[in-house]
Amino acid sequence: MSAVIFFIAATGAIAGAIGVVMLRNPFYGVLSLVGHLLCLAALFLLLNAEFLAASQVIIYAGAVMVLYVFVVAYVGGDSESLGASPGFLRLMTPLVVVLLLVELLIATLGSGLKAIGTEGAPLPDGFGSPAAIGEALLTTYLLPFEIASILLLVAAVGAVGLARRRRGFGPGDVPFDSATIAAAPPKGSGTMAEAAGDRAIVGAPRNESR
């Protein structure tokens, strides 16, 4: 049974990966990646990594991919052709890729590791369960865990800084003059309270565009 599931999931994952590279429309590429991630989650389950499988589906296939979809929709995914690039790259790419694949396969299949040909060591109860992972994260790996959280915070702040609208960016931006300021929405508009509709802003024009 597990062999059947493995082959289905592995085929799906590889197919999804190929889809990401081959499909010309980035939007389809994202969808293909979602499929790939779901198949990968199934592989994780087969490897007794339940918690990781769940987070893969929820965080990756769910949250992160939604972000991608939004950005693709915002930037406008142009269709593009494969590999229209400088000459030496066209030559180098297949060479490097094939070399890498061959080496990786030799490394995994031809290695002297005996355990690699087995289904793995006998497992303790609750291996890979949220409880086990949580305990490891909050005891042995507390420091990496905290560092990871700080890293996420930094990344979030950095992203806000990057994507923020600044003045005088480029040709597409409206110059910021007194007329713009005068036309700005009154104080208090654009807040959560206004969005929730429980506070009326006196004299506020409803500007849907913002």
Partner: protein, 669 residues
């Protein structure tokens, strides 16, 4: 609160004061800054008193408490901690530093009231007190070096306080450079001790030293001499003394606090603190004793002829510290520290009184122009007399007991120490002469123009601001004495500060009187109980002879000064002409500045010019760098073509590299 808490609070309050004053500088007006600064030091002093009370509650043998707040570094055999050592010695210093500082802050509240840099001054002054307290409380060499260097920096800032005055900034730089020379000595000494004992902690080093070193071990003597370089630079001992007279460019309270009462005695404290090491290195002790004696005599001779009021007191400070260095180098630590304390009182008092006179003279400091202030400034005159008598070692003032304690202790040692003994008494005679020469010239004789003006009820104001050191015209931004300046006589705060110090200078002697009172000795016993000459009983006949001799020499000195400057005012000039050679030598300060300039400054300047003109321009620019520069140009041009700016090219290169690394491992395996 515990002993440790009090000790840390001693450090915390001045630091808080510094930060507060530094941050609030733009908004503080009037005398608020002075109040904040004085209060911070007063609180530190109160905590110091509380710490002493707590320490006295402990049994005598456990009165050495180490408290560590933080570990700087614990690696490679070095365990540097933010730790303080609380023992009678450090707390004695805390009391002296914080106590005198409180009074001097109080004095400065009024003294600098008309200065534009009022808040800045108190921020600096608090910073100085903090640094000095770090120095005396440090529990290991690392923190000692930190305090040592911070004190030097604070001294620099305060000497150059009137930074628009050219002579002041130069004096600050001079002081700082010589002090840094001392810092280097201490750092090198610490490295030697760390290498030998494997620790920077005071108590560990002291405990290890007898096991590691033989008596007069070469390494130990070298380390002690290097520490002494630091001590001499800070304490203005020959040949590192030339900065101290110039440091009188700073405001008078600074001279009183830093360059008389506290910072310059740090060298004495250092030797006393390191006494377990110095006891093992008799050679270093001999060097210290000789240097102390030399300084004492040289400074006293210069003090006889200098005409600048503050510089007379500065040379007397050097001379008195010579006594202390002589004492602690000879192993009689309690006497040295006792003199340190009484000296802090009477010397701060003298400086404060001098500040009063300088105020009345509107910034002028030359004795040649002063005279006749006796009647118009009775309080100042009384302070000068009290301070002068204490300085000359007249009974029953504090200086009598402390100075004689040193000389008696040295006399009791015997052997070659008789040189120090005799030299010390010669110095005592000269001390009395120059002290009363200063007093008679400033307060007796015909009243000068400024004194007359004050008598008429009007404080003299200079028509134009001139630098008292070189007479050049100054802009008004320098700030002192300003149009609304005070003199100590007429200000309550300054009078209180002077009164307290006058009381202490008069009575502090009772703390340690041979065969009668042993307060100092009993208090310091836990620190010095292991020292060789601790608590040695003085021979009664020597005691009586010494005290009698001290009194007679003091009286003789005062009589000589009286004869020369009051009774027969012209005779001083006659003697000057008679001994023109000696006078020239003394007046030119034994040519130390010139000698240092000739032996060190000029050769190094010449070396620098040679290095810049010949070595750098010709050899380095022409020969050595030319090859690498062109190589770098050519090779960078070659590598630059790889920077295509194409993201994918970079990615391909990385992937290719990774593949190669993998290939290497495959071939290895």
């Amino acid at each position: 609160m515990s002993l440790q808490t009090h000790a840390w609070l001693v450090l915390a309050f001045p630091l808080a004061g510094t930060i507060l004053l530094g941050l609030l500088r733009p908004v503080l007006s009037g005398k608020k800054a002075g109040a904040i600064g004085t209060l911070a030091i007063l609180l530190a002093f109160a905590n110091g008193v509380a710490a002493v009370i707590k320490l006295q509650e402990l049994p005598s043998e456990s009165r050495e408490v180490v408290s560590s707040l933080w570990t700087y570094a614990n690696t490679g055999g070095l365990d540097a901690q933010l730790s303080i050592l609380i023992d009678p010695l450090s707390l004695l210093m805390v009391l002296i530093v914080a106590g005198v500082s409180t009074l001097i802050h109080l004095y400065s509240v009024a003294y600098l009231a008309s200065d534009e840099g009022y808040v800045r001054f108190f921020a600096y002054l608090n910073f100085f007190v903090f640094s000095m307290l770090v120095l005396v409380l440090a529990g290991n060499f690392v923190l000692l070096i930190v305090g040592w260097a911070l004190v030097g920096a604070a001294s620099y800032l305060l000497i150059s306080f009137w930074y628009r005055r050219n002579t002041a900034t130069k004096a600050g730089i001079k002081a700082f450079v010589i002090n840094v020379l001392g810092d280097v000595g201490i750092v090198l000494g610490t490295i030697l001790l760390l290498g030998a004992t494997g620790s920077v902690d005071f108590l560990t080093v002291f405990n290890e030293a007898p096991q590691v070193f033989n008596s007069n071990d070469g390494t130990l003597v070298a380390a002690c001499l290097l520490l002494m370089v630091g001590a001499f630079a800070k304490s203005a001992q020959v040949p590192f003394h030339t900065w101290l007279p110039d440091a009188m460019e700073g405001p008078t309270p600074v001279s009183a606090l830093i360059h008389a009462a506290t910072m310059v005695t740090a060298g004495v404290y250092l030797i006393a603190r390191m006494h377990p090491l110095f006891e093992l290195a008799p050679t270093a002790q001999v060097v210290g004793g000789i240097i102390g004696l030399l300084t004492l005599l040289i400074a006293a001779t210069i003090g006889l002829v200098v005409t600048d009021l503050k510089r007379v007191i500065a040379y007397s400070t050097m001379s008195q510290i010579g006594y202390m260095i002589m004492a602690v180098s000879s192993g009689i630590y309690v006497s040295g520290l006792f003199h340190l304390m009484t000296h802090a009182f009477f010397k701060a008092l003298l400086f404060m009184a001098a500040g009063s006179v300088i105020g009345a003279m509107a910034g002028e400091q030359s004795l040649n122009r002063m005279g006749g202030f006796r009647k118009v400034m009775p309080i100042t005159y009384a302070c000068f007399i009290i301070g002068g008598l204490a300085l000359s070692g007249m009974p029953p003032f504090s200086g009598f007991f402390s100075k004689d304690d040193i000389l008696l202790g040295i006399g009791e040692l015997g052997g070659w120490h008789w040189i120090l003994y005799v030299g010390g008494y010669i110095g005592a005679l000269m001390t009395a002469i120059y002290t009363f020469r200063m007093i008679f010239r400033a307060f007796h004789g015909d009243p000068c123009e400024e004194a007359k003006s004050l008598e008429a009820g009007r404080l003299y104001h200079a028509p134009e601001h001139r630098n008292p050191a070189d007479g050049t015209l100054e802009d008004t931004g320098v700030g002192f004495p300003g149009s609304k300046h005070h003199i100590a006589e007429r200000s309550v705060a300054m009078t209180i500060a002077m009164g307290v110090l006058a009381f202490l200078a008069t009575t502090a002697g009772v703390l340690q009187i041979p065969k009668i009172s042993h307060v100092m000795e009993n208090f310091l016993e836990p620190t010095f109980v292991g020292a060789k000459h601790f608590g040695v009983e003085i021979d009664t006949s020597l005691l009586l002879f010494g005290m009698g001799l001290g009194t007679v020499l003091g009286l003789l000195g005062i009589w000589i000064a009286w004869t020369l400057y009051v009774k027969r005012p012209g005779s001083a000039a006659a003697i000057e002409a008679r001994f023109a050679g000696a006078h020239k030598l003394f007046a030119n300060k034994w040519y130390f500045d010139e000698a240092i300039d000739f032996a060190i400054v000029r050769p190094f300047a010449a070396l620098g010019r040679f290095g810049q003109r010949t070595v750098e321009r010709v050899v380095v620019d022409g020969g050595i760098t030319a090859g690498p520069v062109s190589l770098a140009r050519v090779s960078s041009a070659a590598v630059r073509s790889w920077q295509s700016g194409l993201l994918r090219a970079y990615a391909a290169a990385i992937t290719f590299g990774a593949a190669l690394v993998l290939l290497y491992f495959l071939l290895q395996g």
